[in-house]
């Protein structure tokens, strides 16, 4: 155990400071072609015609691909988890966000590739676009997804639900109802290394794929599924990533580069420009979160009603997973026994949104913490003491009924109070994470507690 507690040099540290680390764009393969993509100039449109004939005839163009060239064009990022596919690799009949790829070319140099894009003729029929997720379920909202306004496959429901305890009872008993709306916005990951892939057709028929992915085996599966080839036809090389932050979990550039490599039988590199990265790469989702809490005047949160809209952009990608994590964390560091949560994955004509650092959780954590402070202001009590009173304790159960084994709310809150010099009442300063008892186990928190040693509370027939 020499490593525990020691400062070890980074295994890639010397390579980084001598610029010997090999990022995808640093790999040199003779004869590599340059790829460029034709992206939708419209937020929402029907595609009436695609004509690539003129582009294919240009000198120096070695490959042009459209949806017709993709063996399995529509594949979902989470299809392996039972979340059905909705997103084409290359758009066929519709474009649903500005920047959506429709065709791609591989050429001897960048100028020729751009000239080829100009030579591709596409006829669009523009449609009204939807940008505000709050309007997605309006009867007159533009219909932009074949599934309707929201992702519909949460078991029997069209949204992620949590039902725990008796929320009607909580709101009947409340002295005060505190409401709040929280709207964290989209964030571009903005890695310094833009999306990039290099695909080399090998003599034996395999493809070697140099990838900037954060999720190597995941990307392997996605490329194999689109190309309908067995996994052993693809050799992925990666691990050196110039920043990802969640934005390189989606398989963004490898599949189209592979398609062009197969078409041209030449190595193909596709490096996105900074403009493409901002225009067309995925972002963190924007959210619309409405919280109403049933609160007693002495600071107990008896129950919570939550409605969340998760802006998925034009396609589902990982959003159904993100809203599920959001649901599990929607009480944050606090124990609230009576819950009704409804989380919708909403489609809009924005770029598809995706994972980013704490996917689905940071948004609701921000809302919960702001809301706790709002409750304290409404009640005129200490925001520290409100938090400590309702803090997760050993044996308390989460929104999805998992029993807390080692909750950190109390020690972390006490440490924060000490750090900023906050003076707490003696009963709060002496708190621990131990199982609730006495004054901290009022009647309304009894039923939510898991039996000693249990890991999960019995499902009360709820969610």
């Amino acid at each position: 155990m020499k490593a525990v507690g020691a400062r070890l040099p980074r295994y890639d540290g010397v390579a980084h400071v001598t610029a010997r680390s090999v990022y995808v764009d640093d790999v040199r393969v003779p004869g590599t072609l340059v790829a460029k993509a034709l992206r939708s100039p419209h937020h929402h449109a029907a595609i009436k015609r695609i004509d690539t004939a003129r582009a294919k005839r240009l000198s120096g163009v070695r490959g042009v691909v459209t949806h017709e060239d993709v063996p399995n064009n529509v594949y979902g990022h989470l299809e392996a988890l039972g979340i059905p596919a909705d997103e084409p690799l290359l758009a066929e009949n519709d474009v649903r966000y500005r920047g959506q790829p429709i065709a791609a070319v591989a050429a001897e140099d960048s100028d020729t590739a751009l000239e080829a894009l100009d030579a591709i003729e596409i006829e669009y029929e523009e449609r009204p676009a939807l940008f505000d997720m709050r309007n997605a379920l309006d009867p007159d909202a533009p219909r932009m997804h074949h599934w309707g306004g929201v992702y519909p496959h949460f078991g029997p429901h069209n949204h992620r639900r949590v039902r725990k305890g008796d929320v009607e009872w909580a709101f009947d008993q409340a002295d005060v109802i505190v409401e709040g709306v929280y709207r964290p916005q989209a964030i571009e990951h903005c890695p310094l290394e833009t999306q990039v892939a290099l695909v080399v057709p090998e003599a034996g028929g395999r493809l070697t794929i140099y990838s900037c992915t954060q999720a190597m085996y995941f990307s392997l599966g996605v490329v194999a599924a689109h190309l309908e080839v067995p996994l052993n036809r693809l050799k992925f090389v990666g691990g050196t990533v110039g920043g990802g932050f969640g934005g390189k979990v989606d398989t963004a550039s490898e599949t189209i580069a592979a398609l062009l490599a197969l078409k041209s039988r030449r190595p193909v590199k596709w490096r996105w420009t900074r403009e493409e990265e901002f225009l067309a790469s995925s972002t963190r989702a924007p959210w619309h979160i409405e919280i109403a809490d049933a609160v007693t005047s002495d600071g107990w949160v008896l129950g919570r009603r939550t409605v969340t809209l998760h802006d998925s952009g034009a396609y589902a990608r990982f959003s159904p997973y993100g809203v599920t994590k959001h649901a599990f964390h929607h009480t944050g560091a606090y124990t609230i026994p009576n819950l009704r949560f409804d989380g919708f994955v909403v489609f809009t004509n924005r770029v598809p949104t995706t994972a980013m650092r704490g996917f689905g959780v940071t948004s609701v954590s921000m809302a919960v913490e702001l809301h706790m402070t709002r409750i304290a202001e409404v009640l005129g009590i200490s925001p520290w003491e409100l938090r400590l009173k309702n803090a997760n304790r050993i044996g308390d159960t989460t929104a999805n009924r998992v029993a807390m084994q080692d909750p950190s709310t109390v020690p972390v809150t006490l440490a924060a109070a000490e750090r900023v010099g906050e003076k707490l009442g003696p009963e709060y300063a002496a708190m621990t994470a131990d199982r609730r008892s006495g004054d901290l186990l009022p009647e309304h928190l009894v039923a939510q507690q898991a039996p000693e040693g249990a890991h999960v509370l019995g499902n009360g027939g709820g969610s």
Partner: protein
Amino acid sequence: MQLNVNGVSRAVSSPPLTSLLEVLREELAVLSPKHGCEQGGCGACTVLVDGEPRRSCLLPLAAVGDARITTVEGLGAPGDLAPVQSAFHDRYAAQCGYCTSGMLLAAHALIERKGGPVDRDEVLDALSGHVCRCTGYVKIVEAVMAASRGQVGAEPIEQPLAPEPSQPEIEIAGSPA
């Protein structure tokens, strides 16, 4: 024409308006300058031109002339690191590593210009045009200050050079603090 890169005269045939970044990477395979934004905003393509940090993505080949170009390949190699490289390695100042080349060259130029210890504000000024999206700025600034003081070597110095704030630096209305 000839290009003086890291003390070696190299023949190049790219058209005169080709960016220095493109010439270094694609024609000469000098790979330490990176494509970040290609519009002068991120600093990842920085090289030294006669010792001064310049954005190679914005510099046409024709404007370089016979100036001396220095890249990270010319600073030091594994086993023979320049002080600023050692300090970055000792103090974990590289995370993903993509901005590191530009940071190293701007820091090296500052230390050479100053010829002695640099203070925090001077480092912030010299690195102000460099983006680290991993946001590892604290360790980068500490590394540059340490390099300027000759505090480099196998044993990292445990004590941080920047004092730890005892109070939160930013107070937000409505926050519990």
